[in-house]
């Protein structure tokens, strides 16, 4: 019972943090809109079902320090990175929705939000030789 109680308590905290995140994200989104001309195409900063989705387009050169494949966008939900991949046909999958394809990173991130039901993403762990 201890474990369940602790998890429920953590869930409550995460909910409170999410509420704080909405206010911050809304303000940020407004600021982004006002200088849209300088924002790289593919940049997303939105609140969806109470969760903040941030998408930064890939650089193509792989020099942005991420540990995933070069050229892929960095997708974050409430600041936690979502592992994403692009299929050869241009569709997208993530580690949360791995067996179902999505047309673009935004719909992929929104699907992850729906699937998470308020839970936070775990830290990304890469490496095929686990």
């Amino acid at each position: 019972m201890n474990k369940i109680t602790r998890r429920q308590a953590l869930g409550t905290t995460a909910g409170a943090l999410t509420v704080l995140g909405i206010a911050g994200a809304t303000a940020h989104a407004a600021a982004t809109d006002s200088r849209a001309a300088t924002t790289p195409a593919g940049t997303v900063d939105e609140v969806y079902q109470g969760r903040r989705i941030q998408i930064a387009p890939g650089t193509g050169g792989g020099h942005h320090g991420g540990h995933h494949s070069p050229g892929l966008p960095t997708v974050k939900i409430d600041g936690r990175e979502l592992h994403v991949m692009q299929n050869a046909d241009g569709t997208w999958i993530s580690v949360v929705n791995h067996y179902e394809t999505f047309a673009d990173p935004t719909s992929l991130a929104r699907a992850a939000v729906r699937e998470l039901q308020g839970s936070q993403l775990a830290p990304m762990q890469m490496g095929g030789m686990a």
Partner: protein
Amino acid sequence: MTVRKNQAALTPEEKRAFTNALLELKRTGRYDRFVTTHNGFIMSDTDSGDRVGHRSPSFLPWHRRFLLEFEAALQAVDASVSIPYWDWTADRTTRSSLWAADFLGGTGRARDGQVMDGPFAYATGKWEVAVRVDGRNYLRRALGEGVAQLPTKAEVDAVLAMPVYDMAPWNSSSNGFRNNLEGWRGANLHNRVHVWVGGQMATGVSPNDPVFWMHHAFIDKLWADWQAKHPTSTYLPAAGTANVVDLRDTMRPWNDVTPADMLDHRKFYTFDTEPAAAASQR
């Protein structure tokens, strides 16, 4: 010789032996290492780079080897156990005995997807999801919610009729048997079943749900069925192909096994649909 049986035909004792062996592997931590391995490959197998476990020709031999290792671990607990297969063309509703409390338990509750009955319900204290993509440590399912229908027998038969194993570019955009079975193309067989079950099964850590093994045992059987139907067709590519595992290349993470080693399942087990005597002679 191990015989893999249709899960619908298992006796109550066989079901209990299987689930007890799963719980024991979970207790010792052995189970979670399989989950970690699978997710590592899920995240590193890419259409344009090295790919071994998924979206590539070695999807089938890789999972055959993965299941063999898992089955050996189960049998170290209980030598009578084998991995049952789930024929989702036949047992295709949430009311199937597969999802009963005396076997895998049922779908998750509406509020959070948590599976509440059966041996893998969180409240039993024996099945904490440790290798995960998010904070939730309980087994989740949403049977029939991500997609309404499981693949049909007719859809499976259409894929089994495809004569060529795999084709360039040897990834998720390929035509051929392997990719139509994996589900990135065509009717969508294997992938759709993961989505139909939902919860962890829809994620990179899908082996957290024990039904993963029974789903893949059926995918494995479909490969064997395809081989029997097309005796002159073979694994492709043969040699010299960038980023993918050719017939006689070794597969990570084992590095000592090739697709060629995995082609004949009868070296390791038979299915309950095959006559055992005939199998040993072939």
